[in-house]
């Protein structure tokens, strides 16, 4: 559909600045665009976190760099923090940026199969970003109804007091979905069709599998929510009442529409992170991935299961209690494939020769932290325990122990690992290690206390606990400690940004394959030119053939003829 114009493969190198950087069709440029936008939005989301955490630690005080936070702004900030971090940080970085950058390189192709659909997808995404940020300056302020946007609060201006904000929010989210639908179709078709000669199913690096499975999950789950978003917009603008009980609608419908998408969404971001980690731990422990097929099938299993667990977000949200029993069973069952994945990754280290580079540190810290997120999920998946823990800070801590490893730890691991390929230069390891410890330790300091305050009864989205004198008042120092840790964690991102931007020009030259890795992207120049490969590689073996006995080198690139 996207292709017309000529068929001739002339040289790709006369492009104006505009074509190269502003409206590129080259997958690497688009990846860079997604990465930059995603990192910016991530920092913005981090700033929001700092603001509302400060308000909570010292209610009613001026927040440095922001000022006084009133209830409406607090809600807007928490809501935007959630929305930004998931839809504008985790997805662009993990799925879009790494997907765009890695897929064509790792399958030995010169670009995505639909380059201009790819470009369109970023442009729509950018538009959605602009709308979301603009909503902060709209009359009434940004939407503050929680990132789940339950109606009637989200559907009725007079309840939410943000007539513009809520509509702009849902429009932005809708556009973002469309952008990732286009991107996803591109990823899937590219991996299915454009693989290098000789690359069979089991020769595809895990990270590509995960990104494509994630895209399929996203595509399959987002449809109902898109329809629901249209209905919500109609409710907001024309007062139709799809979600209004007095007009025969039903608020619970939205909750189902949202979570039918919302739960697979968790795996949409989890799987790429898992894939990135798989690449890194195999390279830096010089080991074959433990049971490639097992990993692959567990990932499919997780994907399929993730479609039948959504209502565990609604146990106490007014759904029929009998359904809860069904969904609690499926939810607990999902622990099986997930533990499988963790075990397999740990087993991959067995008999390895582990080199603790920054990338490896981040990858391993992902495993360590994600285990925590996984096990605490059992508390919330078990309906009986959820009756108490639901919507407390225990939940917050739980899903931050999944999302922070996913989006931040794994994301950074990927950046450190592929940076040489992206920019042709190495990052500074010392700064990297400082950045790692300065990120990982504060992260735990933020959320372990919150598990405790949550268990003690702190509920979410409260801007001032002085109104709940009997709720964990004696634990207020923990809330303050968590806030302090947030600030530390944010400050430790400065060395990273310095490292990231300075190394582009000052870092030492990387060469084609600095990590001695097997996969095809390391065959290309770094950074790869437009068109990626001087001659297109053929594939002769699976991607993780490290330390094969009887070879002098401990790695064996996929494209090396036997």
């Amino acid at each position: 559909m996207s292709q017309d114009h000529t068929h001739n493969h002339g040289d790709h190198h006369q492009q104006t600045f505009l074509e190269k950087y502003i409206f590129p069709v080259d997958h690497k440029r688009i990846a860079a665009q997604y990465l930059t936008t995603g990192m910016f939005m991530g920092l913005l989301g981090g700033f929001f976190a700092y603001v509302f955490r400060s308000q909570q630690a010292h209610p009613g005080h001026e927040v440095p760099l922001y000022g006084l936070v009133n209830a409406n702004q607090y809600n807007a900030l928490t809501t935007s923090h959630g929305t930004l971090m998931i839809f504008w940080f985790a997805m662009p970085v993990l799925v879009a940026a790494f997907g765009n950058f890695l897929i064509p390189l790792m399958i030995g192709a010169d670009d995505m199969v639909f380059p201009r659909i790819n470009r369109l997808s970023y442009q729509i995404f950018f538009l959605s970003t602009v709308i979301l940020i603009a909503s902060f300056f709209a009359p009434g302020g940004a939407f503050g109804g929680g990132w789940t946007a339950y109606p009637p609060l989200s559907s009725t201006a007079q309840f939410s007091t943000t007539p513009w904000g809520s509509t702009m929010w849902i429009v932005a989210v809708g556009l973002e979905f469309v952008a990732f639908l286009l991107g996803g179709i591109n990823f899937i078709v590219t991996l299915m069709n454009a693989r290098a000669p000789g690359m069979r199913m089991y020769d595809i690096p895990i990270v590509l599998w995960t990104i494509v499975i994630a895209s399929i999950l996203f595509m399959a789950s987002v449809g109902p929510l898109l329809a629901g978003a249209i209905m919500l917009i109609f409710d907001q603008t024309m007062h139709i009442g799809f979600y209004d009980p007095q007009k025969g609608g039903d608020p619970v419908l939205w909750q189902h529409l949202f979570w039918f998408f919302g739960h697979p969404e968790v795996y949409v971001v989890l799987l790429p992170a898992m894939g990135i980690v798989a690449e890194i731990i195999t390279v830096f422990s010089r080991k074959k991935l433990f049971g490639y097929r097992t990993v692959l099938f567990t990932m499919f299993g997780t994907g399929v299961l993730s479609f039948v667990v959504w209502a565990h977000h609604q146990f106490i949200a007014g759904i029929d209690p009998r359904m809860s029993n069904l969904f609690t069973v499926t939810t607990i069952l999902i622990s099986i494939p997930v533990t499988e994945m963790c075990f397999v990754y740990i087993a991959t280290l067995y008999k390895g020769s582990i080199e603790l580079t920054t990338a490896m540190l981040f990858a391993l810290s992902f495993l360590a932290a994600f285990l925590m997120g996984g096990v605490t999920g059992i508390f919330l998946g078990a309906s009986g325990a959820d009756t108490y823990l639901h919507d407390t800070y225990f939940v917050i801590a739980h899903f931050h122990y999944t999302f922070v490893p996913i989006a931040i730890l794994a994301g950074l691991a990927g950046m450190y690992f592929w940076y040489p390929k992206m920019y042709g230069r190495m990052m500074n390891e010392t700064l990297g290690k400082i950045h790692f410890w300065g990120t990982f330790i504060p992260f735990n300091c933020i959320f372990i206390p919150l598990f405790y305050t949550g268990a003690a009864g702190d509920q979410r989205r409260v801007y001032n606990y002085e109104n709940f004198p009997h709720t964990a008042t004696d634990l207020h120092y923990l809330r303050q400690f968590a806030t302090a840790s947030v600030i530390v964690m944010l400050l430790f991102q400065i060395p990273f940004l310095y490292n990231y931007f300075v190394s582009m020009f000052k870092g030492k030259i990387a060469g084609k394959n600095p990590w001695q890795s097997n996969t095809l992207e390391w065959v290309a120049e770094s950074p790869p030119p437009h068109g990626n490969f001087s001659e297109f590689p053929n594939v002769y073996r699976p991607p993780y053939e490290y330390s094969v006995p009887g070879r002098d080198k401990d790695f064996w690139p996929q494209n090396e003829p036997t």
Binding site: P251, A317, F343, G352, L371, A382, Q459, V462, P549
Partner: protein
């Protein structure tokens, strides 16, 4: 353990706490085991000690059997947890005990309105006592509550009861609790409900039957405002433009 974190003030609080403790122990063991193994490998197989890595495909049975065994353990624990989870759920949410008293709880932006059946112990009679943001309960009495929301979704949460239930506009949700400890506690709204969500708390006062009766009498003696006549019920129930179209 949970009871040291927060008071148990209802009949089923203990059951839920035990469930949480149980899960805590089970997953705690697994968690420590997994982390222990992870760190053992990281330290034991680091480059210095292990310059040359082994070649393990992980496709062979004598390797995979370890993961399989671990899995049988996981599945066993899952079943165990599920059993107690569903048990607790069924007790708290599914089977209603015969109520001694039934109260109505209405959430609206941003206050809780409680209707106590009053001395005749029947709702919607002249002697109902309507209170705002203050719930008086008799200790050791089986309560049913009819939970409603007037405008947006709220969530009625009493941490010390381990009770939490969303109030959905257009639905009447019935639940129960049995207060076991006299005292003053917090009632929270745990579902985002707009500007005032952060202050939508209420005071829960669990008192002896005598104190409660005394309080009811004093209410009748007291302010006219809290004695609802049917008109007042209508008035405060007119919080939606959509009310316009109930009839079409």
């Amino acid at each position: 353990m949970m009871e040291h974190v927060i008071t148990e003030a209802s009949s089923y609080a203990a059951q839920i706490d035990h469930l949480i403790d149980l899960i805590f122990i089970i997953v705690g063991v697994w968690f420590l085991a997994a982390e222990g193994l992870l760190f053992y490998f990281i330290i034991h197989y680091r480059r210095k000690k292990q310059p040359q890595a082994g070649y393990v495909t992980g496709e062979r049975l004598h390797h995979t059997k370890w993961i399989h065994r671990a899995h049988y353990g996981v599945i066993l624990c899952d079943v165990f947890i599920l059993y107690f989870a569903v048990l607790a759920w069924h007790h708290v949410k599914q089977e209603l005990p015969e109520p001694e008293t039934t109260i109505r709880i209405v959430g609206e932006q941003w206050a809780w309105k409680f209707t106590d059946p009053g001395l005749d112990n029947e709702l919607d009679t002249a002697d109902d006592v309507v209170t705002v943001d203050e719930l008086h309960l008799m200790v050791n009495t089986v309560y049913n509550f009819k939970l409603e929301a007037k405008d947006v979704v709220h969530s009625f949460s009493v941490p010390v009861f381990r009770l939490k239930q969303d109030a959905i506009p257009g639905r009447v949700i019935t639940g129960w609790f049995l207060p076991t400890k006299v005292g003053e506690y917090d009632i929270q709204c745990t579902q985002m409900c707009g500007l005032g969500h952060g202050i939508m708390g209420a005071k829960l006062i669990v008192e002896t039957k005598e104190q409660h009766r005394a309080w009811l009498r004093q209410q009748h003696g007291g302010s006219q405002a809290s004695v609802p006549n049917t008109n007042d019920i209508q008035n405060v129930s007119q919080n939606k433009p959509n009310g316009l179209f109930a009839k079409k």
